[in-house]
Amino acid sequence: MARVIVDVMLKPEILDPQGRAVQGALGRLGLTGVQDVRQGKQFIIDIEGTLEGDRYDLMHTLAEELLSNPVIENYSMRVVDDEQ
């Protein structure tokens, strides 16, 4: 089994109101010096067999076209080794 991890973050130039709200809460709870907070998503995908060839390419395409919106988000994808 392969595990694919896709992280999706808003592009730096896109305002992140949720991150800003979290930043405010961190400050109110006593954490000083917080300069910025960005909130994103992580997808953990377990998939049979190994991820290579066409299936690897398709996973990349879907990470870009389904899991993220390239207009406002960047994604990064990595495959972590099987747990056997």
Binding site: E13, I14, L15, P17, L67, N69, V71, I72
Partner: protein
């Protein structure tokens, strides 16, 4: 000829009935379309209604974009079929890349529900032809993720080509860049609008009837063309 206007129902659509009613009040025939069916039933135009398709999971409109009916609509829209996306429908049009940019979380983080004043900026589209340029209208607005964003080059292109069809007046409700409430594609057949004209088509239930011209515009364009 009475034009047939399809209204798509996705799982989680809320405003499909109001959109169909608006079509009928404007003088058209409303045709129910189903997300899982790629048959457009020979409609002359399509409305993608508001709501929370697929629970807004992943991103608003992101999963609806891949519904079978959307494959047919994207193809037909590229061939000139008039398509109006309202609220969640606007989000779906952006996710489908029929319109540029994206809609993001309101900058206030609040869901905004109020009657909103708009200025109609462009009357060349098939959905705004019955307005006067500069006309000010009042229709309901209700969204949590209505902030229109695009890069500066895209925003400049939209402005330069007159593709901003409506702008918010007064306080910007959601942080939309350049107060943009709605845009159109280059050809003018595809329009996305965040506020809800279908809720402002008769005095009994709406704040005004200012939403009606969106629907009469497309019907008149279709009748005129036939």
């Amino acid at each position: 000829m009475i034009p047939r206007v399809g209204v798509v129902t996705f799982p989680g659509s809320l405003d499909d009935r109001d959109a169909a009613r608006a079509v009928r009040i404007a003088g058209g025939e409303a045709v129910a379309l189903w997300h899982g069916d790629d048959d457009l039933k020979k409609v002359d135009a399509v409305v993608l209604p508001g709501g929370f398709s697929y629970g807004d999971y992943l991103r608003c409109g992101a999963i609806a974009r891949f519904a079978p009916v959307m494959h047919s609509i994207v193809d037909a829209a590229k061939g000139g079929l008039p398509v109006l996306g309202i609220c969640n429908g606007f989000q779906i049009l952006c996710e489908s890349h029929l319109l540029p940019g994206a809609l993001t979380r309101n900058d206030s983080l609040h869901f905004i529900c109020r009657d909103q004043q708009l200025r109609i900026e462009d009357t060349t589209s098939m959905w705004t032809a019955d307005f006067e340029t500069g006309q000010e209208i009042l229709i309901p607005l209700k969204n949590g993720e209505g902030g229109y964003v695009a890069d500066e080059a895209t925003l400049d292109m939209l402005e330069g080509e007159g593709r901003v069809i409506a702008r918010y007046l007064g306080l910007n409700p959601n942080g939309s860049r350049r107060d943009i409430a709605g845009i159109r594609n280059e050809r003018g057949n595809v329009v996305g609008l965040m506020p809800h004209p279908e809720h402002a088509v008769e005095d009994l239930t709406g704040p005004t009837t200012d939403g009606l011209p969106f629907f009469t515009s497309v019907l008149n364009s279709l009748v005129g063309a036939s």
